[in-house]
């Protein structure tokens, strides 16, 4: 009798173990993972003074625009921007506009047709964001305007530089949860001289693990 009840007890324990394990296994298959990996891989560009290379410069008015785009980035001393995915020609051209203390003050007028008039020429207003007007014309004839949307503006005319970055691009399929990520290796950085005096590649590899400065731009008289 005792032996029988012992066997029943043992069988019950086995059955319960099977059942618990089975239920646990079913349960774990109902839960999904999430992507915890940062996939943003911008190029970080910082400005420095040419005269004091350890000193980070913060230009008064600085805007960046990828040539061929109409996206304008406002920045102070450092900014992060995407590189292009053009597989045929892996290089990016940026227009860099910045003002400084010596930039000449100019008068601009916004006429009734919302066009900016500067030096007797009219420029269509492409974008008004947060009460600030931005305008980039053709690359050969770039202008940027910054000011409140009123009739008359007085501000400093910026200088323009061009920054060209050549790179190799790799596409990484990271995981089922995260999908794809781009990584880059900077090959060359060139510039058209105006306010930029020099360019240095600080870190060549651009990936989601690196938060370092990749490019250092040295400015004259900052």
């Amino acid at each position: 009798m005792n032996r029988l009840s012992g066997n029943t007890k043992k069988n019950r324990i086995y059955r319960m173990t099977f059942a618990i394990l089975f239920m646990c296994f079913l349960f774990q298959n109902c839960v999904n993972d999430h992507c915890n990996e940062p996939l943003y891989t911008p190029i970080n560009i910082a400005f420095y003074s040419e005269t004091d290379t350890a000193k980070q410069a913060i230009p008064i008015g600085l805007t960046f625009q990828g040539v061929g785009t109409d996206s304008i980035i406002n920045a102070s001393g450092q900014f992060a921007v995407n590189l292009s995915l053009d597989a045929l020609n892996d290089e990016c051209l940026y227009a860099v506009a910045l003002t400084h203390a010596e930039s000449p003050l100019e008068l601009f007028v916004l006429n009734s047709e919302n066009k900016l008039i500067a030096n007797g020429k009219e420029y269509p207003v492409k974008r008004i964001l947060n009460n600030v007007i931005y305008e980039f014309g053709d690359f050969e004839d770039q202008l940027t305007f910054v000011g409140n949307v009123d009739s008359i503006y007085v501000f400093r005319k910026p200088t323009f530089d061009t920054l060209k970055i050549s790179y190799e691009r790799a596409l990484e399929f990271v995981s089922a949860e995260c999908g794809c990520m781009n990584t880059y290796t900077i090959k060359q950085a060139r510039f058209i001289h105006n306010k930029i005096a020099n360019v240095m590649i600080h870190t060549q590899q651009i990936n989601n693990q690196s938060y370092e400065k990749h490019i250092q731009l040295y400015l004259e008289n900052y």
Binding site: D33, E172, E177
Partner: protein, 241 residues
């Protein structure tokens, strides 16, 4: 969230198994000495994965193995299986994806050896066993298909994001420590369950045309990140010599 639940239950499961195995070992008294070397062999079929497929249509798998009974102590094992995963719905990055697909399928093999730590009844051809062992697993040339995963280029493309697609095959290798029990139920038919602790040795990343592809799954191993523990519930037939 997943890690808390999965690790809790896995720990509980493993402790239960360890408890059963140690109880078995403590009670185990061998009766006599082996009468022969080769007692027979088990043919095991996994019943868990086909049942799981009924609850989760994104994965399907079958596997079967042969275990040779030497002296009722040592069980050299060879296993063959096939797994199919559809991980398309797991994509959770904020960039929206349309009709994205990530599917993996392929055959895998395991070879290993188990040692019976339960009492050995040498007079019987087929008796309950509890075992510990190791396996080496390989999935050679399993297939993957990746379609329509978004690549963010919105700054340059004015919002027209691009997508990435690729397919091919690659190889995964892993090692396992296994523990399990198996007991006869009717004549030569047995039921068993097995716990595996798996360590991924290598999944070959595909690297071509500046595209690097990491796999999240491997047939036989499962989820690369969360697949360290595995289970099998088997129904077996013991063939006498």
């Amino acid at each position: 969230m997943r890690s808390i639940f999965s690790y809790t239950w896995r720990t509980i499961s493993f402790l239960l198994l360890l408890g059963m195995v140690s109880t078995a070992e403590a009670k185990g008294k061998n009766e006599g000495s082996p009468e022969k070397t080769f007692y027979g062999m088990y043919v095991d079929i996994d019943i868990l994965h086909p049942i799981l497929h009924l609850f989760n249509s994104n994965r399907m798998g079958v596997n079967a193995d042969i275990q040779i009974d030497l002296w009722h102590k040592l069980y050299p094992t060879i296993l063959v299986g096939y797994d199919w995963f559809d991980a398309s719905s797991e994509y959770s990055y904020p960039i929206p994806a349309t009709n994205n697909q990530y599917k993996i399928n392929g055959t895998y093999f395991k070879i290993g050896a188990l040692y019976n730590i339960w009492k050995k009844n040498y007079e019987k051809q087929n008796s309950p066993i509890a075992y510990l062992g190791i396996n080496y697993g390989i999935s050679p040339g399993f297939n993957y298909t990746i379609e329509n995963y978004p690549i963010n280029n919105s700054y340059w493309d004015n919002g027209n994001d691009r997508s990435f697609s690729a397919d091919g095959h690659t190889t995964a290798q892993w090692g396992e420590i296994v523990g399990g029990v198996k007991t006869p139920i009717v004549k030569n038919f047995c039921l068993g369950f097995e716990v595996m602790f798996k360590t991924l040795l290598h999944i070959k990343d595909q690297n071509s045309d500046n595209n690097i592809i990491h796999q999240s799954y491997a047939p036989g191993f499962g989820d690369k990140e969360a697949g360290k523990w595995g289970f099998r519930y088997t129904i077996s037939y013991f063939f006498h010599l």
